[in-house]
Symmetry: C2
Subunit: 395 residues, 2 copies
């Protein structure tokens, strides 16, 4: 039975991934320190609905399916805690059997502070983002090097690392010819926030580990994710993933949907020409599964651009507006002064063939998908707090 | 009177720079937390001779020259301490006048853990290197952004950030043509240690600040520095800079000299074909001075490759050996198995015209310079501890 360790298992993508792999009969351990929930509490940001904590969810999952997801609660910035997951001394906070899970075949590393606006609030949140994201990654890298060099690390990167260059964006690498000589490099990156910059840095770090110690790493350059339900979350209401709709943690499609349901104008920054690649949460999980099924060789770094279609922000707003209106919602689009430093019109042509080549079957942002999300969000309309949607973090 | 803040003012380059600018009648403040001295103590590494602490040195400097170098002792990982240097609340640990120095026109940022082998000892030293180097840089960047956006940040980078690519190394930037379109990027980097990787990361961070907030930054991509005396250190024996000759903190030329004086074979790693660019400590100071005299415009990042000549490690060993023998030392070269992961033979062609263009007058590694260093080191022959020269840190 393959063994998977999921860091950041309480998160928007972490928990659905845990259930997916558990359902496929992988041996799954999840780790989290509730950083996201704590930040939300501190900033007075509520989610669309309450979600049981990780221990409770693992218990419910076990009761309903008979399957075990072991849980360890702790801060992965603590090196000794990370090492305990690899040397067998970890104490699980919940498990059907307290026996050590064993060395993981794969680690899925979601354990990063994932919000660009949070990282841009002030020097404190910037420092927290840098420390958390880099020290966790370094602790993981060293634990794998020291205890389990065969383990495949799947790290979530972001398309935002590339920024918006004036040339085609390739999948992670670029062959450069200069003065008649050639070499292949990591594709040049320049990101639009401190958060995105830490993702460039953690790639630098893992790429060092790959070159130096022969580690096996996959870096998934993911676009903004949308969606709520997965096959496993449908088993029980309490197994839904967390869902933010605020400016700090809510990804744009999810946020626009909630805004439409709440009758709050869809807020487009600047001219709205910012083009990005988007992906459905079910495809995220599919991509991770495909990456695990096709691991890199020793000393190899696989980099995949993980999204299925591109839209400008204005296109997204218009698409969501048109469906909202069909469903009887009163929905306006409001162009506001861009609080971010970013190009509002730019070249954007991205290669993203690899995951399709591995067999990815995309779920596109169709009317049906959007209507399904509207229906889901609509059930929680009463919970929506309009005042948390836009906080105006500037950079 | 121009105002300079030097972070890492106790270091090998920090203190000579402080005296240089003070001598030129700049208003100088130095900050340090003695991290390097503390690590040396912990690892039982002694320097070639004892050096008074920073407060004592500033006091001696003031007594002998009448000039003031203000001193603040503290950890720059502490954001509030960094901000106190910019908002006027700093308490100096030594100053002729306790009055606030005012906002700096220039900050010279030496305050990083500078050793590749130290960063590679284990996960703890790797974490310390990452946290120290990135949090200090981020605290500085935010303090400048929040209080003093006109301040020019001069950051010491390293040639090691480039690694050894198979194409010519340009000065910081590379214009790339791809599929018929063009853009200009930070030159692609891949370093050979965790330490060098943190220097790539701090460039990413400052380049973000330059693009986003219009900061003015100069990044000096420096090769290994050698040398001891500067004009100002000659004023008094007690004003000499710190001098390490161990594998952890001793740069290769300094270390080889001490090895030759001590009758310890010059240890060349592997085939010794590793080519690097080297620079005399006096030229380092000259380069910093030229960078300050030619600051970047708002929102501009100047990157200069800071070295004057290139050698293979084997060439260096042979040059030092030949002079050692002339001076009557018994000097052998010992080729040892390379403890590092690096190419021992590689292409290396580096553009370093900019600083020459600004007026740099190089001090080359001549027989005269080496003989002067031999004479200097010879005075401290009795202090040399052979057992600290090689510790065998592997990666």
């Amino acid at each position: 039975m393959e063994n998977i360790l999921i860091l950041g298992g309480d998160g928007y993508l972490g928990w659905p991934s845990a259930m997916f792999f558990s359902n496929k009969r992988y041996k799954v351990t999840v780790v989290d320190n509730y950083l996201r929930r704590d930040i939300c509490k501190k900033l007075d940001i509520s989610m669309l609905y309450n979600v049981p904590n990780l221990i409770e969810r693992a218990r419910i999952w076990h009761k309903l399916t008979g399957l075990e997801i072991k849980v360890a609660i702790g801060d992965l910035q603590d090196s000794e805690f990370v090492r305990s997951l690899f040397n067998g001394t970890v104490k699980y906070d919940w498990a059907a059997s307290k026996e050590y899970a064993g060395l993981p075949d794969t680690v899925i590393h979601f354990a990063e502070m994932p919000s660009a606006p949070y990282s841009m609030m002030d020097y404190r949140t910037a420092n927290l983002t840098i420390s958390n994201n880099l020290i966790v990654t370094n602790n993981l890298m060293y634990a794998v090097k020291d205890f389990s060099v065969e383990t495949h690390i799947v790290k979530l990167g972001t398309m935002g690392e590339y920024g918006t260059p004036n040339i085609d964006i390739e999948e992670g690498w670029l062959e450069i010819e200069h003065n008649g000589r050639k070499d292949k490099f990591i594709y040049p990156r320049q990101a639009g926030s401190i958060y995105h910059t830490t993702k460039i840095m953690d790639t630098d770090l893992l790429w060092f580990g790959v070159r130096t110690w022969g580690l096996k790493v996959t870096d998934l350059m993911q676009g903004p994710v949308y969606g709520i339900e997965t096959e496993e979350s449908k088993i029980d209401e309490r197994l839904k993933t967390i869902f933010n709709y605020d400016e700090i943690f809510g990804t744009v499609i999810n946020r626009f949907l909630v805004q439409a349901v709440a009758g709050y104008p869809l807020t487009v920054y600047g001219a709205g020409g910012q083009t990005r690649g988007y992906i459905n949460i079910n495809d995220t999980i599919q991509c991770i599964y495909l990456s695990i099924k096709n691991p890199p060789a020793e000393g190899e770094l696989n980099i995949y651009n993980q999204f299925t279609e591109t839209f400008t922000v204005k296109e997204l707003a218009e698409q969501i507006q048109s469906i909202a209106i069909k469903l009887g919602y009163d929905c306006n689009i409001s162009l506001i002064k861009n609080p971010r430093k970013e190009l509002e019109n730019h070249y954007y042509n991205v290669n993203h063939k690899s995951l399709l080549g591995l067999g990815l079957k995309p779920h596109y942002l169709t009317e049906k998908v959007l209507k399904g999300m509207f229906k889901f969000v609509g059930k929680f309309k009463e919970n929506i707090k309009k005042d948390i949607i836009f906080k105006g973090v500037k950079w």
